[in-house]
Point group: C2
Chain length 214, copies 2
């Protein structure tokens, strides 16, 4: 399965590419913005494509061309303002969806954030962040794409243990980025996750089993 | 025609309410955020409802209940940041659409901005502003509401002369806010504008004629 990872240089993106390189099912292509980000992925054994998410849809579509799936794992990060959140987390995500459609790639997995489907659960200190995620997710779910929306809880850098709790709605909690990356791969392997959107925190179910019960 | 004007305290909103008060076709209700904004509208002879656009959809729906149309003329203004642009110009607009749907109000007119349908025409200095308008418009056009999307060029405070140029796409130009307000009323009077979205600048056609030719 040839997969374009948008936001490959992010923490979840990087782990996703690395896991895909080591999994016979996948051939990942890391989409990165800067020349100096390329080498780390080449060293890993991954293909790369230089493309800015703030660029044109046509160019993102060219990067997606010939792939079987697109994973959107980009985010402007906590250090930028609401303007970048809007242009990367929302407009960048929607441009990636438009690019997938234009390139004829049906499968699309997005990494969102826990609870954003409900305005009453939006972050009170940064509602615009939750709004960006909310509208990107809604856009995807209303598109014709074969989507999976993964909404992890608070992200940690601890090693993952492959044990999660998923449901349309779960209580607030945390989860290692590594388990989010594993869940991306598991979602792509399980066609039953097409058309599903779910919250996710650390739990007691094996990832593949948890996804099957959605 | 009973109309809820969201963003009534804005410059276009205020002129829209005032024109409606003086037009037998309309009974306007000004939705305002602050108690101290009420009196100016009462003095005008308009009904008012106190409701914050950053509040709950249910409460906005209660304000829309029993109306024949909703006009969205709100904007966070040039002095706020991208966070408020996102929460007012985009999320506030989409909440107003959800409120109209919930209240059973089919007709919805939105004041957007020239050219925002095309990312290549977005404001280079504030693309998030154009993005907010773009996504609010797109959301409306994909809703089941009887929409009209009005995208005026650069707004001026000069008196209007009732002469405009409209089309799906027109060159950049300016237009008095008063002519935008007149176009809102004219759109509500002309069912032919349902399902239409258009750029608008000052021109040489009478407003009602220009809308008929869309």
């Amino acid at each position: 399965m040839k997969v374009l990872i948008v936001g490959a240089n992010g923490q979840i993106g990087k782990q996703t590419v690395e896991k895909m390189v080591n999994d016979d099912v996948f051939t990942p292509t890391a989409m990165v913005r800067k020349e100096e980000q390329v080498k780390a992925f080449q060293d890993m054994g991954a293909e790369t494509v230089l493309q800015d998410l703030e660029g044109q849809v046509e160019d993102i579509a060219a990067a997606a061309k010939g792939k079987d799936a697109v994973v959107f794992a980009a985010g402007s990060g906590g250090h930028t303002g609401a303007d970048k959140t809007m242009m990367i987390d929302m407009d960048g995500a929607i441009k990636s969806m438009e690019a997938a459609e234009r390139a004829g790639v049906k499968r699309f997995v997005i990494v969102s954030a826990i609870g954003v489907y409900d305005r009453n659960k939006w972050m009170s200190k940064a509602p615009y962040y939750s709004a960006a995620k909310h509208y990107a997710d809604e856009w995807l779910m209303r598109s014709g794409l074969d989507y999976t929306v993964i909404r992890p809880g608070g992200l940690k850098n601890d090693r993952g243990n492959g044990q999660i709790k998923v449901a349309k709605e779960v209580e607030r909690g945390e989860i290692p980025r590594e388990d989010v990356a594993e869940t991306i791969l598991a979602s792509l392997k399980d066609e039953g996750t097409i058309g599903k959107d779910f919250d996710m925190i650390s739990g007691t179910d094996d990832i593949a089993d948890a996804l099957k019960r959605l």
